[in-house]
């Protein structure tokens, strides 16, 4: 992608400098994969490997959850972020899993991510935060913004053309469509979805909000749920996962992307987002780390339905 040529050069230079100077102990970015349409995560600790870094419209992976590998480490790591990725970093900062001293956030302009066929990902069409919500440095002229905004930086024009954010108003369409169904239809729909789950936990592993040291689905001691992928246990897993990230999900869509069984996980997350906004007021998780997530606070005059 020609707009990103200089950004790629700057990324490599910056990564090299940061590693050579010892400013950071490692850098998270992307590399070109085995196919032209694959740009996969890369972690380097050696300045010599900085040239492997690459960033283009296939660099869809959110790298923020990888920072958890170093959560008890004093050394600093640099991470390249798109708008959606940056909210994952804020998630980790707010959840106190990393400290600002441990991470150097480098914001990148996002051209809009596309699939193998070259069409814009739905999550990018629905994107409200195409610019980093926080960054220590930026490349490619991207502007940091804590407000929903239009794409900025060198790829702004390209992003606009492919329609980044053009369908932001329709984010809840899938939720609305399901809400319109009868209880029996919903039950059948979700039973089918839950039955597909193979409990690989890829959704959890990639999620920056799923940052527990020990996940309750890994600890057998308490016996919250059986390991077996039964319909019942899968539903328990799906709902519990959703409740645990309620008000904390940063809307990056990685859970759904990595799901090998195509379970519409984000529909559940979006449903919760929608209800939280309706019940407790507007809130975007992973934007402002000083605002406590909605389930960690209350208003005495919250909606009352339990009278």
């Amino acid at each position: 992608m020609k707009e990103l040529h200089n950004v790629n050069v700057a990324m490599r230079t910056l990564a090299r400098e940061l590693l050579e100077s010892g400013t950071v102990a490692g850098v998270y970015g992307w590399k070109k994969g085995s196919r032209p349409t694959l740009t996969s995560p890369l972690y380097i600790q050696d300045a010599a490997k900085a040239d492997r870094l690459a960033y283009d419209q296939y660099a869809v992976s959110n790298l923020s959850a990888l920072l958890l590998d170093h959560r008890n480490n004093d050394k600093k790591r640099a991470i390249f972020v798109k708008g959606c990725d940056s909210r994952g970093v804020v998630r980790l900062l707010q959840d106190q899993q990393i400290t600002p001293e441990q991470v150097l956030v480098i914001g990148l302009p996002c051209p809009g991510m596309v699939d193998e066929a070259g069409s814009l990902l739905t999550k990018c069409a629905e994107c409200r935060f195409p610019n980093p919500v926080m960054a220590d440095q930026v490349l490619g002229g991207v502007e940091v913004s804590k407000q929903p905004s239009a794409p900025t930086g060198v790829t702004a024009e390209a992003a606009r053309k492919v329609g980044v954010g053009s369908r932001a108003g329709e984010r809840m369409a899938q939720v609305a469509q399901l809400e319109g169904k009868t209880a029996a239809e919903k039950e059948a729909y979700w039973a089918e979805q839950h039955d597909k789950c193979i409990r690989c936990y890829a959704c959890r592993n990639v999620c920056p909000a799923c940052n527990c040291r020990d996940c309750i689905f890994d600890t057998e001691k308490k016996g919250w749920v059986s390991k077996a992928a039964t319909s019942s246990a899968n539903a328990f897993f799906a709902i519990t996962r959703a409740m645990h990230v309620a008000g904390r999900c940063v809307d990056c869509g990685e859970c759904e992307r990595v799901c090998p069984m195509d379970i519409p996980i984000m529909t559940v997350n979006r449903k919760l987002q929608q209800d939280i906004e309706a019940l407790f007021g507007p809130y975007d998780a992973g934007v402002d780390e000083t605002v406590v997530p909605p389930l960690g606070r209350y208003q005495t005059d919250d909606p009352e339905e339990f009278l």
Binding site: N73, Q97, C212, R213, H244
Partner: protein, 660 residues
Amino acid sequence: MKRIGVFVCHCGSNIAHTVDCKQVADEAAAMPGVVHAQEYKYMCSEPGQVLIQEAVKEHNLDGYVVTACSPRMHETTFRKCAGRCGLNPYMVEQVNIREHCSWVHADKEAGTEKAIDLMRMGVAKVLKNEPLKAATIPMTKRALVIGAGIAGIQAALDIADNGFPVTLLDREHSIGGRMAQIDKTFPTLDCSACILTPKMVEVAQHPNVELMTYAEVESVGGFIGSFDVTIRKKARYVDTKRCTGCGACIQKCPSKVPSEFEMEMGPRKSIYVPFPQAVPNKPVIDAPHCRYLQTGKCGICKKICPTDAIRFDDQDEVVTERFGTIVVATGYQQFDISAYEEYGGGRIPDVITGMHLERLLNASGPTSGKIKRPSDGKEPKNIVFIKCVGSRDEAKNRPYCSKTCCMYVAKQATLLKEKLPASKSYIFYMDVRTGGKNYEEFYRRTQVDYDGHYIRGRVSKIFQVGDRLIVRGDDSLLGRPVEIEADLVVLAAGMDPQHDARELARTLGIAYDAHGWYTEAHPKLKPVETQTGGIFLAGACQGPKDIPDSVAQGSAAAVKASALLTKTELTGEPMIAQCNEAMCSGCGLCVTICPYKAITRQPKQERIHGKMRERMVSTINSGLCQGCGACTVACPSSAMNMGGFSDEQIMAEVDALCQR
């Protein structure tokens, strides 16, 4: 597997009438883990408890379930019973087959079935019970009383008389509070100073009391038993050890400032004591108004002082001291009448407040007790009182009654009539509320013997024409408008919380209501306690109060505080949160949700990948945790659990109920 006993109580016929107790016991005996099941007429009786204790010994029980009445009734009984036979009291569960079963289901079959389910639930739970032990926390045998008005003075005296050291703190440089400003007290009309000053002297001279005036609380750390209180002692510019209180400096000081104590109706000096009977009776320098401190010129006080006590280089001093318990007695402030534009909003000089009139009535006040109105010093003839100014007024966000105004207005009208026999007082009221011993009688005397003219209705407007005040209102009993030409209008301004009450509450970690009054732990049964262990309330900081109520509360708070101080250590609640540090990721979700600030993130040293690393984990202060369990749900990884109501126990109960 644990060896469990089940004891089925008949409660006379209360349970046995509609629950087949034998069947419950039989079903229990057949349950895995249950090694003994038994029925008895009254399990809570002495023989019943002996029966349990013998069974514990005979069958070597690890725990037992009593199916009986509500655990809210006898849980403590059956836990103590276990304690007496060497079993941990928390290895006992009581299930409720009386209130929740036999009394509410007449159908014996359905009742028995439910009782069996509940019994199974109890057994399933007790199988997961762990012995619990209450943590103990040390008690610092020293109390802090914040605020040295009459409530604080009383609290400090009572604590001191109980034999405990107490520090009495006030931000003003004399103790005494609002009561010192008041002229006479209702309903006895004894002079306020005459009954207050002996108490002030008594508390100052008490060997167990340390006075700390001109000082403010900056921060409070710690918890019940060991509060670490940081106090700022404001610079006085006078060495209190050297100063003899001779007053020569005050006399010679050339700079005059309106006196706060006199409601700015009279002057004071820049070096001053607020009022003649002040305790300690040693002046301070008001730095912003001191010529020397502002311009470097003057210094007369220093020159004249016979003991060389003036210290122009004095600095604020910040100290941190430890107290076991705190009594908050910070009082109130008078409502600011500027909110009432229709009454002149404080712009009309002869529209004054009740406290202004107290000072005008007082023989040591700015007019030496002569009633002179502020604008021109004339003696007023027609005096209008308006009650409920800043009370019972939703529009001013003061829906509450200030409780004292009805009586102080009656008192002031009486005193005015005594001082100015030719005067006439008109009193506009909404209701006259005189609940209190001899209060109603006093109010009647004001009306009958002292010519107080009570008019039921609100005043809509006061304005000035020439040197008269036109007071317009309505008489709602006669149903017609009234207009009075007055010489002086007294607004019976209500009580407001101190302007910084919320700030102090947050510092102390205590609750306050929508207006800023401090919230007691229970409106009826815990009137002087707060939700925060070890912190008590006295006086008007909790809500409008008159002097007798404030004194009573001061004594009550002192009893509560002393009860703590008699202990060398405190026993905490055994059923509290427990953090599994190995699982805890230190995210702090539990910290924000804890109502008692009992959880803090603390560093934990740990060997990770062969290196010593530090990571943050949640730590529970067993002295502060009250066992609500909110943290357990906030914690997504279930690292946070709770003794007595653990995840495992509750799940076992659910499973047992459902798997029938």
